[in-house]
Symmetry: C2
Subunit: 223 residues, 2 copies
């Protein structure tokens, strides 16, 4: 029946999925960089994935996952995000320390396990970083969020997701006391460096860089 994939294959599938969200054609070097490996190794794996009908790929022409490949990617992402939710909600991990552990847990194969875990956690729709969790059919919940940098002035909004899971970013957010669900508004935008002044509800306002504002996503609240 359904094929089995090695951990190495799964890691390629997942990375290619993420890369093709922004690029319409993924290329070898990007994947090599993301997986911390060499271009030659990537080519070898691409051939294998193509042969397994997971990948649409022609030599030198770039590649994308096939429909079957996307389904597999979403199943892995579902596992990753549900485990992250578990680690934070049930085992009191910080949201900045769950990523590596979830990288291992996402390769546990039992479908029954993950569907039961989903129920046990109360069918969460978003992981601790605000990323949407696919349901057991691979459907992603829709979330109408915008980039913080595009938020209108003095409009209340709620932080709904972060653009990366890097230690550096999470450390900065912890320090600024910004987390998923934090309510804030933008008071001023500075043209000089594109930094913005924000005010978190119940705190005094402060400045954040353009770079930070671009990695934060918010859901406007109708006040």
């Amino acid at each position: 029946m359904s094929q089995h994939f090695s951990i190495a294959e799964e890691n390629y599938i997942k990375i290619i999925y993420h890369l093709q969200q922004t690029d319409d054609n993924v290329n070898t070097n990007e994947v090599a960089a993301a997986l911390n490996t060499k271009a030659a190794s990537v080519t070898d794996m691409l051939k294998k994935l193509k042969q397994k009908k997971i990948l649409n790929y022609e030599k030198y022409q770039g590649f994308r996952l096939s429909e079957a490949g996307e389904k597999i990617a979403l199943a892995i992402i579902r596992k990753h995000r549900l485990w992250e939710f578990f680690l934070v909600e049930k085992l009191q991990f910080g949201w900045d320390e769950v990523h590596e552990v979830a990288e291992e847990l996402e390769h546990i194969t039992s479908k029954k396990l993950i569907d039961r875990l989903d129920v046990f956690l109360g069918n969460p729709k978003f992981d601790p970083h605000g990323d949407p969790i696919p349901d057991s059919n691979g459907k992603l919940p829709h979330q109408p969020q915008i980039n913080l940098i595009d938020l209108a002035l003095n409009k209340l909004a709620e932080v709904s997701a972060v653009g990366s899971q890097s230690k550096e970013l999470l450390d900065l957010l912890k320090h600024k006391k910004i987390r998923i669900g934090t309510q804030l508004e933008v008071n001023k935008k500075f043209a000089f460096d594109h930094s913005i002044e924000i005010k978190i509800v119940g705190q005094t306002s402060f400045n954040i860089s353009q770079q930070l504002a671009q990695t934060l996503f918010v859901k406007p609240l109708n006040k």
Copy 2:
């Protein structure tokens, strides 16, 4: 620092640990049979484990884990049994369907994860099959008791421990008026469903399921 072991190595370490509990010298064929592999493959791995100081091994002379090896084995067994407990208590798996999933989960490396899971589960001392769970230092809980299912017929015994603290189990035990110190004997064992008929001192006898009998531990009394 502390070495890292592959999944294959961990599986060998675990099997050798289990085998050396009953044999004083483990041999190649036993391991091959237990791991569903060939004797030649076992020999290859033995050399590697010896070189890593995990195994006391001389050609043709049989082998046992070194002290370091036993520590590693106990850490893996700890993970396996805690995950089994989690699956049964939190995700409503049947006690008979957890083994394969736990075989995968036991190789997740994070020590922090497993210690937090331990706390989350309430520091259980026995897994759903009644097997003792090593603590975070690798110490096994002392167990001078036997499983109720192994109690000889018509031999008086005293309930000394329960295999879990789950609400469901405790609810059932309350209803059946079974608590620590209760004196009882087994009158009959039924092969069909492995249920047993027990008689609590001063009460009429009744049947209990295999599952319940396996979560109860008793200390035989010399009457």
